[in-house]
Symmetry: C2
Subunit: 250 residues, 2 copies
């Protein structure tokens, strides 16, 4: 048997947002590796070993997956959302680069998934309907100054913005600083969307004018979207829609 | 019967990248509306009317969908990729805003899909593994100067970049100008990925150092990804991988 590593995106939470490609990979796996809440989303069955690990051990988890594949196992590494967006794919390649040469002969596939910002955008309307940036607000792995620089440049370029990992218990202050920067830099009162646990039973979507946003509106399960200066709200009796037009006036 | 409009993303091309949520919406539709090649991807069946229209009539197409929904039909508007990323969702909301008040009582859902840059990134490795921008390089609906400004700011912020609509027959020069700007602004020789028709039988992925890129490498079916200054290539006997690490050194 030839081992392989498949790095698969489970999407934001709902079963019907998992692609058939990912479901097929899981059906053929001998081992599933990932962070505890994501591995919980995989149904147990005979012949499948589930390896759930804690957060913040991404590279060790990746090395474990490569090790098992080198022994001939069919390993699926699961991420929520898309594995290439602030998730496990980069961690696997970091482990691969640092590991034994033999690992470079292991077949590796990345299977895309619905990343949180796309699911959140769909729920709100189309706030990412024109040029946008995706920024990880966690400063665990990069200096906070770089986050602030990117926020300022994104505002200067009038991009819509999607923020991952806005706030966690171990990083309570950063998001408040980001919000203060945005309120000052954007000036106007464009919409900001707090999309928590999209497509799960705990889903909660809140849209407010940027100047009314507070840091408590986000937690570690929230993706945050800020419109560009052109982002509009369509008022409806059945719920407002937020969208960014496709055109920019000359 | 209550009409509704569902704006659905068909993903980049492969059947197994269409979410079950989108498949279910298509199974219940009375009408499917969209650009000819996307409507062709929907299987005909009794009770389903397919309305395929040419490109560049997005708002008329959207108005037609809303009109039919107001008459009680269950209309699915199809886009390739994700409908909220340079696709039909914003066009539907533009039509909605400009249309009769009664349209604002029509139920509208947006169903996310695998957008081209995520499928392309997965094929290449994980070049969007850290902060990135998505930019539409078409100047049909915005001034070229804004595209150049956004490119410069994205480079200054050291974002990875994904470019949609890099080049078409009606806009042959823009992409060459964008490439020249990037070669000059990036300085280094970071990887650029030309991902054409990802997940279809015509798929072709080409990765070259930025300084060797030429405009002919892209056409209207290509999504282009440019790494950040930290993007790396993992050399392997079975094909190289491109990824952007999760960490930025202090």
């Amino acid at each position: 048997m030839t081992g392989r590593v498949t790095i698969a995106g489970l999407g934001p939470g709902a079963e019907d947002l998992v692609t058939p490609q990912v479901s097929a990979a899981l059906a053929e796996a001998t081992d599933v590796v990932g962070y505890i809440p994501y591995v919980k989303r995989v149904a147990p069955r005979d012949g499948l070993t589930l390896h759930a690990t804690d957060n913040r051990v991404e590279v060790e988890r990746a090395a474990h997956a490569l090790d098992m594949a080198a022994e001939g196992r069919r390993v699926v590494v699961v991420s929520s959302g898309d594995p290439g967006v602030f998730a496990m794919a980069a961690a696997v390649f970091e482990a691969l680069e640092a590991g034994p040469a033999a690992w470079r002969e292991i077949e590796i596939d990345v299977l895309p998934g619905i990343t949180a910002m796309l699911a959140a955008s769909a729920r709100a309307g189309a706030p990412l309907g024109h040029d946008f940036c995706a920024i990880n607000l966690s400063d665990n792995l990069k200096p906070w100054e770089l986050i602030e620089k990117r926020l300022r440049l994104a505002v200067e370029g009038d991009f819509a913005m999607a923020f991952y990992n806005p706030r966690s218990k171990s990083r309570p202050e950063g998001f408040g600083r980001a919000l203060a920067l945005l309120k000052q830099a954007c000036g106007d009162n464009r919409p900001i969307i707090f999309a928590r646990a999209v497509s799960t039973p705990e889903e909660h979507i809140l849209t407010v004018p940027l100047q009314q946003a507070t840091e408590e509106m986000a937690d570690m399960r929230t993706v945050v979207i800020v419109g560009s200066s052109l982002t509009r709200i369509v008022e409806r009796p059945i719920g407002n829609l937020v969208y960014t037009p496709r055109s920019v006036p000359v």
